[in-house]
């Protein structure tokens, strides 16, 4: 966990039985020695979450929703396209939820971040 950036501690990293768990939540379960903690630890160590594409997709969307809901509303995401694209966090979230080509790029980018995080905590 010490190898994770602080903002990752409270972002969901695995989904088990339909529930998303953050690194901090997983650590608490592991420290309490619960059966759930053991399962979560095994999942993270074997990076099982990364193997299920549908779960990975949902996890990426969930993390994007959280990140955008916490982002300052004044920021913009700008693409050097012609014609230009200029999206507020809210507009970007709509692209992600609708699965547009723009939204897909961000989902794929977030999947890369998830893989990187799992590699560090695993």
């Amino acid at each position: 966990m010490a190898r994770l950036p602080p903002y990752e501690l409270d972002r969901p990293i695995v989904v088990l039985d339909g529930v998303a768990y953050t690194p901090r939540g997983i650590l608490e379960e592991v420290e309490r020695g619960t059966p759930l903690g053991e399962r979560l630890q095994r999942m993270v160590e074997s990076q099982v979450a990364a193997l299920h594409q549908e779960e990975l997709e949902e996890l990426a969307k969930l993390r994007i929703r959280l990140a955008l809901s916490q982002a300052p509303p004044r920021i913009l995401f700008v693409a050097l396209t012609y014609p230009p694209k200029r999206l507020t966090p809210e507009e970007l979230l709509r692209e992600v939820e609708a699965g547009t080509p723009t939204g897909r790029q961000f989902i794929e980018a977030e999947k890369q971040v998830i893989r990187m995080v799992l590699a560090r905590v695993g």
Binding site: P5, Y7, A67, R74, F77, V78, A79, L80
Partner: protein
């Protein structure tokens, strides 16, 4: 034939393009003593001024930021500069070209290389940035350009086009590490910046020759020495041949 050691930088400012242009000006400042750098800034980054500068300077290297699409690249105020298959693409023949823009690697970039551009850097995906602060005021707004414009830092330092591409990809990894392990890991916007870096890295394309140095030959005096030695050798052989006594046939 384009002139080695000369770079033309097209630096428009409107429609968020200043975010890239100001980073490029910082890079240019570091290299002015090593090569001739010609910049077209703001309103001067327009099609007619670009054509004039190309004709007057005939630079080996061309860089520009602009809004683009698969077959088009635009400059200040989104004036179209060139489209795939139009005549202007021929103006890039013999040069190394970097278009900091979205999507041009799909049609325009391959067309440029087909028309004789030596090497091309661009993007097959959209190129994203975060606009959270004024241009060049924070690492948040420079990070994607610090990675992408590594191409220029490398080429201006005398590295080859292929080496510059490898430096560019490594620079993206370095920027990603900055926001995950380095000083940026505590920034609340780090997740959003990582999206942009991951997208921009995944779409970064290089086409063309890997062995070109825009600063000229690896050892510049070779450019003069090789023809001089060759000329001396030829003239010596000719003189020897003329001076040599004819062989006599003895019966």
């Amino acid at each position: 034939m384009p002139r080695f050691g000369v770079a033309l930088l097209v630096e428009p400012s409107r429609h968020y393009l200043e975010y890239s242009s100001c980073v490029m000006r910082g890079i240019a400042d570091q290299f002015r003593n090593r090569l001739r750098i010609v910049e077209l800034v703001g309103g001067d980054a327009n099609p007619s001024r670009i054509d004039e500068a190309l004709a007057a300077e005939d630079p080996i290297f061309f860089w520009g930021v602009g809004h683009g699409n698969v077959d088009v690249w635009t400059v200040e105020c989104m004036q179209t500069y060139m489209r795939a298959c139009d005549e202007r693409t021929r103006k890039m023949a013999g040069r190394v070209v970097h278009l900091n823009s979205c999507l041009t690697a799909n049609q325009l970039g391959p067309d440029l290389v087909q028309k004789g551009t030596l090497a091309y850097y661009g993007h097959k995906t959209e190129f994203w940035l975060i606009v959270s602060d004024p241009p060049c005021s924070t690492k948040r707004v420079t990070s994607v350009f610090d990675a992408e414009l590594t191409v220029e830092k490398s080429l201006f330092s005398g590295r080859t086009t292929g080496e510059a591409q490898r430096d560019r990809m490594k620079a993206y990894d370095d920027e990603i590490r900055y926001w995950t392990e380095g000083p940026g890991k505590g920034d609340p916007l780090a997740p959003q910046i990582l999206w942009c870096l991951n997208i921009d890295k995944s779409g970064a394309v290089f086409l063309g020759r890997e062995d070109v140095r825009i600063t000229g030959a690896a050892v510049p005096w070779l450019a003069y020495a090789v023809p001089a030695v060759a000329a001396f050798t030829v003239s010596s052989l000719a003189a020897y041949a003329l001076a040599k006594p004819r062989a006599r046939v003895v019966a």
